[in-house]
């Protein structure tokens, strides 16, 4: 009779502890998913692509040389020959 009661008590305690552990695991999972998304750079559940992902970094690097074309155009429009303007813009620092 005693052993049967001990078995019931042990099973109940174990089930209680197991339930707490499961709840804790689920809570960690819910909170942990936020950490995983945070590490992955996700915002509101979506991973935001950066400029290199969409090929914009090459356009930004292009912008750094675009001003040379503007200078070239300016020199040519002001009467300088194309070759002289090219030397001035691209080969003289």
């Amino acid at each position: 009779m005693n052993s049967k009661r001990g078995g019931i008590l042990g099973g109940t305690v174990l089930m209680f502890v197991a339930t707490i552990v499961i709840v804790l695991i689920l809570a960690i999972f819910v909170l942990g998913s936020g950490i995983v998304k945070g590490i992955d750079g996700a915002s509101a559940g979506l991973r935001v692509l950066n400029e290199s992902d969409v090929g914009l970094s090459s356009v930004i690097s292009y912008m750094n040389v675009y001003h040379k074309l503007v200078e070239l155009r300016f020199f040519v429009e002001s009467g300088m020959s194309y070759d002289e303007a090219k030397m001035e813009v691209y080969y003289e620092e």
């Binding site: 552990v21 695991i25 999972f29 090929g55």
Partner: protein
Amino acid sequence: MRNKRGQFFGLFLVVITVFLCLSVILLYGKQQDNAENSLVSPKVVLEVRDNLEKFEMQEKELIEESLVGIEDEFCSEEFLVSFREKFLEGISVEMKDFIFSDLTLGGVDVLDEHKNEDFFVEVVYPVVEDCDGDYFVFSRAKVGKSIYLKGDDRTKINFPVDFSFEFGRKYLISFINGEFDVEAIE
């Protein structure tokens, strides 16, 4: 005996929960890998546009240089022939390289064997036919470029783009008060 089964069932729930958590995390990671994409950069298009602008700067300058020093009467047949010859001789390597790169004609790729001086003489700069005493129109026939653009990383999702466009130009060349004037009209 039944109680021991209950103990195992509790532990089994813990194990299966941990397993499911790990599965979800792994699936999330895998999903992100599959969703990664590599888009085509528009840089090539911008560079082609810039090179076209440089080409046209050189072209206009070459037209102006070719007009100077011809002793025949403006708009005479001899004048037009001399002008065209001087112009064609003055086309630089940079100009040729621009025209010949990714060249198409009527939407069809031009073979390398046809990319030579004759292409300029026969196709790009046709003979000037109309001259109205004070001015004539010098044309560059429409040729095209076709470039196949693709993402940097082909292992990711990428959508190649077939970029093509045609370009040509007309210049109005006039001789007023002893001076030449070159103006792009189209």
